[in-house]
Each structure stands twice: as C-alpha cells, then as structure tokens.
C-alpha cells in the first residue's frame, strides 16, 4: 500500500524497481490501467528484466515516487506477464494517442499522464497535452524551463483533467467517465463536426457511437460530403439508418447518394416507409439543381381551413419540420395556389379562412433549374424558402435559405482542412 503524492508517468519509466533487499526486480515498462471508482486507476506495474516482462500488483508495492520504487516481494514471487490486446496499458494505449478535450472542444495528443494518490490507489488525474509534456518526454524539461527564464517567460502546464477527456479508442472508452460524454452532447453540432473532421474515420465512428442519435444526425449534417459518406459507410446499417432518419430528407438524400449503392439500399430498407419514400423521391434529382438541394418537408394546408384549425395543426406538424416560417396552400390536386407566413397566421382572426390570408402572387422554381438560379431568386426577393414547382403546378419541395448559404459559403468544417 504505497502512499505518494503525484507524479508524471514519464518520470518513472525505465526506473528500477527494487525488492526489500535493494536488488533490482526490473525496470518500469508500462502500467496496467483498470476502471476505478471515480477515475481510472493503476492495477499493476509491468516491469522488464532481461527482455522478460513481469507484472507487479499495486498492492505489493512499498514505496512509489519519482525517486524510488520498491516492492514488498522478491523476484521469485513475480508473475510473468504477456502483452495482451485486452489489457489497457498506459504507455502503449494512452501515450501519444489523440483524445478529445471535452471542455475546450478540441482534439489533442497525450504527451504525458499525471498520477495522483487517492486513498490507497494511484489514479489517472490528468493528461499533459502541452509543451512541458513534450519536453519531459524528450528529457529536456529543465532545459526548457531555463530557456524560458532567460526569455522572461514561463513554461505553462497544459493539463486536461481526466474528468474532461473523451477518448477515441474503443478500449479507452470503456474506462472513461460519463461526464465528458454528456458534455459532448451539449456541444454545438458544428463544434462536434470540427472535432470529427480532425480524426481518422475509425476513431470518428467510435466517437459517434457515444453520441445520441439526434446529436449525431445534426453533427453529420455539418460535415463535408466525403466525410459524411465515409462515416456512414463504416457504420453498421441499423445505427446508420437511425441517424439518417433523424436528418432532414434533403440532407439524408445527399449522404445516401454519396455512399456505395448497395449500402444505401440496405439503409433505405431499414427506414420507415414514409421516410424512405421521401428520400427516394429526392434521390431522383440532379445534384446541382433546385430539385437536388430541395427538401420535401414543409407545411402545407388546404385553402378551406380556418386560421384556428391551421394553428392547431401547425402546433403538431411544426415539431418535425425544419422550415416552418411559410405555410404553403395546396388545392385538392396538390397544386400550389398560395403561400402565407407564420406571421400572417398568428396575426389573423381565428375564424378567417386560409384562402383569405394567402398571397397568390409568389415566386417558384422548377425542379430541373440550376441551384444558382434558385439562389438568385431567394436573394432578390429576400425569401427564407422557395417552393419547387413543376410545369404542371405540382409542388415538389422547398429550397431553404440555409442550403443556399451552404452553397455560397461552405461552413468551415465542410471546407477541407488541408490543401489537396
């Protein structure tokens, strides 16, 4: 039961471990980490002697600090150890790997790990992601301090408390805490997308698994098409279908059109029939046309409805629809005959008919028209959405202003990080 204050793991690596008589048992090679009560803890030391590995349980240690490490037992009672993929080894699996700092919402690399004595255990308290950690690993921390003193600065510690670490490796995820996961879900989807675009797709998939479906869907919408496709392709069909279902149909269609046809088919098969039909309809349009960027989720009522009926219906329908500011008025044949706005609906007398408050002089775009034409109309008439109507007057969907902005000015996560 060794007591100690705190230390960095790199300070004890390759240090000798002594038995009660002062003979060397071996040198510290790695540390076995297991799930602890609050934080992950060290369960044994892996020591190396003459190229053989032994495990030394934490309970058998006597002194543990950065100067001396000694055990209660002799070399005869050491158990030999074989590297196993199942175990979580601190140096092998945590050092040098990328993690997400949930507090700062960014991807960082672990340079070193800080241990702290807690009751009788050694727990992982923080990850060092700063310059100091790099210098300590290179064995020049002192030199760095001196240099900074000459330059009249100081070398800051850059530690991330283990509470805020969201690992990217499946093995590490098992021992991580729930706090970072909750924090992740509270981040803005655009920030999450920025994190995802910085890690490999495999790690991205692990990361997404931890998010709830709704957050995952919102985040996926923020990514660039290549990354979206790679992530969805790498996921199992069911989870992918759950996420696709949460996305607005136009974005879902964009994603599905970028992934291998077979996978897309499987996913479509797993969706609810109505959603699948919506998406399939959108998949039929050319990518850079109004039809290709439109969504077929919008609010449409009949002209004979009263304002009161419409408002009641609106409260139900608006939950699932992204763009609710315009209410489209369709006749019995599903032809678009007028548009009214949410403002009109709220201001009108409850017993008015929709037909009385609708505007019949409106702009439309045909499904085959170039997306830039749709953008031009939206910009010229200051619209939030533009209905897509074919030559026979049937309404197919709406092009929304946020899709237009994405075309003109892609959000940063959609831009590539690096020059090709």
């Amino acid at each position: 039961m060794p007591f100690f204050g705190e230390l960095f793991v790199s300070e004890i690596l390759k240090k000798p471990v002594l038995d009660p008589k002062g003979e060397e048992l071996g040198r510290v090679k790695d540390l076995l980490v297991v799930r602890g009560e609050a934080l992950p803890k060290i369960s044994s030391l892996i020591v190396e002697k003459k190229r053989k590995l032994f495990s030394l349980p934490w309970a058998d240690l006597n002194i543990f600090n950065k100067r001396i490490i000694s055990a209660n037992i002799y070399s005869e009672s050491l158990k030999s150890y074989e590297m196993s993929e199942e175990d979580l080894l601190l140096v092998r699996d945590i050092f040098d790997k990328q993690i997400v700092d949930a507090n700062g919402a960014k991807v960082v690399r672990v340079n070193d790990v800080k241990l702290e004595g807690f009751n009788t255990e050694a727990v992982l308290i923080a990850a060092d992601v700063g310059m100091r950690g790099i210098m300590r690993r290179l064995g020049v921390e002192r030199g760095g301090e001196d240099l900074m003193r000459v330059l009249r600065g100081n070398l800051p510690y850059n530690l991330i408390s283990w509470d805020y670490i969201q690992p990217l490796e499946p093995k590490l995820t098992a021992i991580s805490l729930t706090i970072p996961r909750q924090m992740m879900s509270e981040l803005h989807p655009a920030d999450l997308a920025a994190i995802i675009s910085q890690v490999s797709h495999k790690e991205g998939a692990t990361f997404i698994k931890d998010l709830d479906v709704e957050t995952a869907a919102e985040m996926l919408s923020e990514l660039e098409p290549d990354t979206q496709a790679a992530i969805i392709t790498g996921m199992d069909t069911e989870k992918a279908a759950d996420i696709i279902e949460e996305m607005p149909p136009d974005e879902a269609a964009d994603v599905l059109s970028d992934i291998p046809a077979e996978k897309a088919h499987e996913i479509l098969g797993n969706l609810e029939k109505e959603d699948a039909e919506d998406i399939q309809e959108l998949l039929g349009h050319e990518e850079d046309t109004a039809g290709g960027i439109m969504t077929n989720e919008y609010i449409a009522y009949s002209p004979e409805m009263t304002v009161k009926e419409a408002s009641d219906r609106f409260k139900v329908n608006a939950r699932d629809v992204e763009t609710v500011y315009y209410i489209y008025v369709l006749d019995k044949d599903e032809k678009l005959i007028g548009i009214t706005s949410l403002r009109e609906l709220l201001l009108a007398e409850p017993d008015c008919l929709i037909a009385d408050i609708m505007e019949t002089n409106f702009k439309t775009v045909s499904p085959g028209e170039d997306e830039m034409v749709a953008a031009g109309i939206i910009s010229k008439y200051n619209l939030l959405a533009l209905p897509v109507v074919d030559e026979n007057g049937y309404m197919h969907g709406i092009v929304t202003v946020d899709d237009i902005i994405d075309i003109l000015l892609p959000p940063s996560a959609k831009r590539k990080r690096r020059k090709v």
């Binding site: 790099i134 990080r417 020059k419």
Partner: protein
C-alpha cells in the same frame, strides 16, 4: 457547368497521387533533370524507368496506409514509435523543408530575373501572395489555382516535342541501361532518384489521402491515381531531359541551374522554348513554395498534437501559423541577402533529406506490415521482397549520395 463539374468530380477522386507527384518536380528536380540532359544528353534517360518503378512501389504502400488507417504518416509514427522518433523526424523535416523552400524561392527568383524582373521585387511579391493565398483565400480558389498550376507542367512536354529529337536514340537510351563509371554520371543518376523520392512527399501523400477519406472500396482508384501520378512526374522529367539533351548537349553547353537552361535555349530554340522553360520553372518553384511550408507545418503540428489549420489565427494555432509564416519569411530573406550561403543551405537540405529517407521508408514498411493497423491489407510476402529490396537499394544510393556530398573528394570512383 455540368461538364466542368464532372471533370471536377473526376479530379476529386484522382487528386492526391497526381498532385503529390507533380509537386515533386519542384525547382531542385527540374534543375537536376536539366543539368543531366545538358551534361549527358540522353545518357541518363534510362534511370527514369527504375526510378518510376521504385516510386510506384513506395507511393502505393503509403497510399494504402492512408486509405486503411485514415491517418497521416506522422500520426502513425508518433503513435507507434513514440515521441522521440516523431520529434527528431519532424525536426529533420523542418530543416530539410526549409532548404527546399529556399531552393524553390531561389528558382522563382532566377526565373523572374531571366525574364527581366528584379528578384528584390518579385521575391516579396511571390512570398506575400503565397502567404495571402493560403491564409486568406477560400479553399476552392486555392484548389483551382493548384490544379491549373499542375497543368502548366505540360509546357515541358511541348518544349520536348518542339525540340524535334530523333526518337530512335531517345527510346533506345530510355530502355537500354548504360553504365558508365564516371563520378559525375553516377552522382547525377543518384541525384535523379534523390530528387524524385523525397521524405516530405510520403507524409504529404498519406495525409492528403487520409484527409480525402478515401475508403477501402475506392482503394483501387486510389492506386491507379498513384500510378498515373508517378508516371506523369517521370514523363515530365523525361521531356526535360530530352529537351536539354537534344538542344544543349550537342553544343557542349554545360549548365548548373534550371534558369541557365532557359537562357541557353534562347539562341538555339528561339523565344518559345525560352519562355516555356522560364515560365514552367517559375510555376514549379512557386507551387513548391506554396505546398512545402504548408505541408511541413501540418505534419509537425499533427505529430506534436498542436492545433493546425489555415483559417486559424496566430492566437488559435500559434505553432502552426508561426512555422508556416517563418518558413516562408526566412527563406525569402535568405534568397534576397546578397552572398547568403544558398548553396550550402541546399546541400544541407539534400543531406538531411538523404538521411531522413531511410528512416521514413523503414518506418513506413514496418507500419504497412503491422497487422494491428493494416489487418488484411499488409504487404503480401512477394511484395515485401520487392519493397525491401527497393528500399535497400535506395538507402544504399542515398547514403552514397550523402557521403559524396559531404566529402566530394572521397566520392570519386
């Protein structure tokens, strides 16, 4: 619009291999090929064939690693071989690539001078526009410029055709190796390999493939991309050698720099060849000067875990922005200072490149054979024989190259 888009989509799939390979023909590459052509005529053409094969073998492995792991080479080295390996590799890369940037800016300066523009104006103009383009320009705009710049390399093909070489001897020299025990000949043939297979392009290729998110399913297309890219590089090299070998070699004109080749071509082949050579050199130099500092900043920050990105500020990504900015700024200053040790810097960069290459290649081969990372995509056994022997040969040649640079007297055979 539609046709343009289809072409753009095609280029999106076929990107990394072709662009990496094109940028590989930067100022120092072009210099080497021009010098080789002027000094030995078609005599060194055959070296392009084994060089292309070696390049394809290596780039294919790197590309495969990028596709399967989704990570860059610097990430993989850091994660699998620890911080020391990564740190010293990155330090070497920083110095070597600083030298590369100096060479490229010097190439830009030289090509501007022979066009009658003072380097004291054109270097700051070039450096500032590169910096502005990358940090302030939109991604799409930069990409368009890069793709257009890659097209300009075909100027060398035109000049080669305009030189009207006799194709019989050209083809014979390409496919029938000639060995000569002449120290200059040996040095130049090694230099051709050295400027073609560089450490930084391995990092660059793997990262851009990982970045593109190319999946296992698309890997075949990616391999084709690499093979086409490597072939294009060496076709460009081929035409540079052919041009200089046809026009300069018979007249006994010896040159030491790519810009001299352009000047020497003027009286012999007229204004077109002169213009093509100087403009292509300017283009290649500037392209190299855009990519090399940017790539360096990216790999270093990735390996060290620092924030990186061109649209970040000095406050958000200080290491990244400073590495990128200082590389360009210092390299420009070095090129402009009269009497600065330009040659020394370029030789230093060649030596460090030569020293880094064995490590990069050995790490790459170990990583590509790591089952934990690559699963079923490790090298097949037979492929391992080919790649190990390729790498051993390259390592021997580069070691020899480095030794002869450091001790020119001892290098005489």
């Amino acid at each position: 619009m539609n046709l343009y888009r289809k072409i753009a989509l095609f280029l999106a799939v076929m990107g990394p291999g072709i662009i990496t390979a094109n940028i590989d023909n930067d100022a120092s590459g072009i210099t080497t090929y021009s010098v080789a052509g002027a000094r030995f005529g078609y005599g060194l053409l055959w070296t392009l064939v084994p060089t292309t094969i070696a390049l394809v073998v290596i780039q294919e492995m790197i590309a495969r690693m990028g596709v399967i792991t989704g990570k860059g080479l610097s990430d993989l080295i850091r994660e699998n071989y620890g911080i020391k390996a990564a740190f010293f590799m990155m330090l070497g890369l920083l110095i070597a690539n600083f030298g590369n940037t100096v060479a490229n800016l010097a190439g830009w300066a030289a090509s501007m001078e022979i066009l009658g523009l003072s380097k004291y104006i054109m270097i700051p103009v070039g450096a500032i526009s590169i910096w502005m383009l990358v940090t302030k320009g939109s991604y799409r705009f930069v990409e368009k410029i890069l793709l257009f710049a890659c097209l300009l390399y075909f100027g060398y093909v035109i000049s080669g055709l305009m030189a009207k070489p006799e194709w019989g001897p050209v083809l014979k020299s390409t496919f029938v190796p000639q060995l000569r025990w002449d120290s200059e000949y040996v040095m130049l043939s090694i230099a051709i390999i050295g400027t073609t297979i560089t450490p930084w392009m391995q990092f660059y290729l793997q990262s851009s493939i990982a970045e593109k998110g190319i999946t296992k399913e698309q890997y075949k297309a990616s391999r084709l991309d690499v093979i086409i890219g490597c072939s294009i590089t060496d076709i460009i090299s081929f035409f540079i050698i052919v041009t200089c070998g046809t026009l300069l070699f018979p007249h006994g004109i010896r040159i030491n720099e790519a810009s001299e080749a352009a000047l020497a071509l003027k009286p012999l082949a007229g204004d077109y060849a002169y213009l093509i050579f100087s403009l292509c050199l300017a283009n290649a130099s500037l392209l190299g000067a855009i990519i090399v500092p940017l790539a360096t900043a990216y790999y270093i920050c990735e390996a060290m875990g620092w924030e990186a990105g061109v649209n970040k500020t000095f406050k958000d990504a200080p290491q990244f922005m400073w590495i990128y900015t200082l590389t360009i700024a210092l390299a420009s200053i070095v090129v402009m200072i009269p009497g600065a040790p330009l040659v020394f810097l370029m030789v230093l960069s060649a030596v460090i490149n030569g020293l880094l290459l064995p490590f990069v290649l050995v790490y790459a081969l170990l990583l590509v054979n790591n089952k934990k990372l690559m699963g079923e995509y490790t090298n097949p056994k037979s492929y391992n024989y080919i790649s190990w022997s390729t790498i051993v040969v390259i390592i021997c040649l580069t070691v020899f190259f480095v030794v002869t640079i450091i001790m020119p007297e001892g290098g005489k055979i």
